[in-house]
Point group: C2
Chain length 234, copies 2
């Protein structure tokens, strides 16, 4: 099990916050002298020891440090409309994070019914998923309006997944994740035709994900899973 801490004090000790400390001492019953692994979600990784002080103030003694460079050659940025039922988008985030997603934009579109999402809760889920899957980097999570997002300059491939586009094998084949890619996925009811036009004008390629009509979160998962496999095999 890995623990999260972003804090080093002036004595060069790592500090676990209350929640991580409880998890460490109460749930996983770590004892004085045990060695644990601590990450900060930005690639830094410490081996640290629980000392006599840990129970009082969360301080850990650092035994070893390394910086793990992220090995993926390309990145996936999903911009996805939040589902009516928040569970579905949370589940997607957990799975996509396990599979190495680097950025999630919660995308507010014309037909998006849900107009708010708990970003703090999403960050907690992502944190738990990187600890569980033994990664070192937290994905970046943001909320953004459709018009604002497509107005931004983005390097790499840009796609908009939609059921309104006729399936073309070559389009889907071209999405080989050898380059970093940003992919928009719409809400229940899809993007409006106006949004689709705007995206195309902004350089996004329309993409059909095949003949099965996939739910929003399933489309996101399909992309994340294929991204992971391509990166693992590259």
């Amino acid at each position: 099990m890995r623990y999260f801490s972003g804090n080093l004090n002036e004595k060069h000790e790592l500090i676990l916050d209350e929640q991580e400390l409880r998890h460490c001492l109460k749930v996983l019953r770590q004892k004085e002298g045990d060695k644990i692994t601590v990450i900060n979600g930005k690639g830094e990784l410490w081996t640290a020891a629980i000392t006599g002080q840990t129970r009082q103030n969360g301080r850990l003694e650092i035994l070893d440090y390394k910086f793990e460079q992220d090995k993926t050659k390309s990145t996936l940025h999903l911009a996805i409309a939040p589902t009516k039922n928040a569970d579905r988008i949370e589940w997607l985030l957990e799975k996509a994070t396990e599979l190495g997603l680097k950025k999630l934009s919660i995308l507010y579109t014309n037909r998006t019914e849900r107009k708010r999402i708990k970003i703090n809760r999403l960050n907690m889920i992502a944190m738990s998923a990187i600890k569980q899957s033994r990664q070192v980097e937290l994905p970046c999570i943001e909320e953004i309006e459709f018009d604002k997002l497509i107005g931004q300059a983005n390097t790499g491939l840009k796609y908009i997944a939609t059921c309104e586009w006729e399936y073309d094998k070559d389009d889907l084949q071209a999405l080989d994740f050898k380059q970093s890619a940003m992919i928009l996925v719409g809400p229940e009811g899809d993007f409006t035709s106006e949004e689709l036009s705007k995206a195309i004008q902004s350089g996004y390629r329309p993409l059909s994900l095949g003949e099965n009509r996939l739910r929003t979160e399933t489309a996101g998962l399909l992309l994340a899973a294929n991204y992971y496999m391509k990166n693992t095999l590259s």
Copy 2:
């Protein structure tokens, strides 16, 4: 929206059961004269009309019939240990079904904590997923003990996914879904080394899914998503 019915009466009318009827008339507010699509989960597909009798006894008038041949060239059979939290396996089933899974075996292994699962509930989830994703064939769902499953003769490729096997790109690359494949996925805590040996003796190839430590249901999803993409692109 599609409806499910396995029943044709002697007058060659389709009969919706109580639950489907309620969904049709109360939730989706279909009216007399509306045309609806009915599937039986085995490739048969009817266009049928709601008549004056439908509200009383669920009878529909058949207007058109076709048999949709499943277009996938190979099939995926996942045999997966049930997760401690049943939600996770239900979610996996829903997503994998949307992505065209053909068979799910709920696999009871040595380290499986959950010893029962509600198969009826899984069948309902699968039904809803094929309706939603516009497919025609229900996946087959069963419960089975590990020893019994690996004792069965199976054609096609056979894999056992495990964290205990060193990752080898060539192994994973070989899993191209051009042939039908059956893949075993273990519980939290993985297969025992005895189970792994038995599977290898029975002709299963061990397979590591890369460096991220994936949860049981995430491993299943990764496989289903890659199966769908390969089938869609083939």
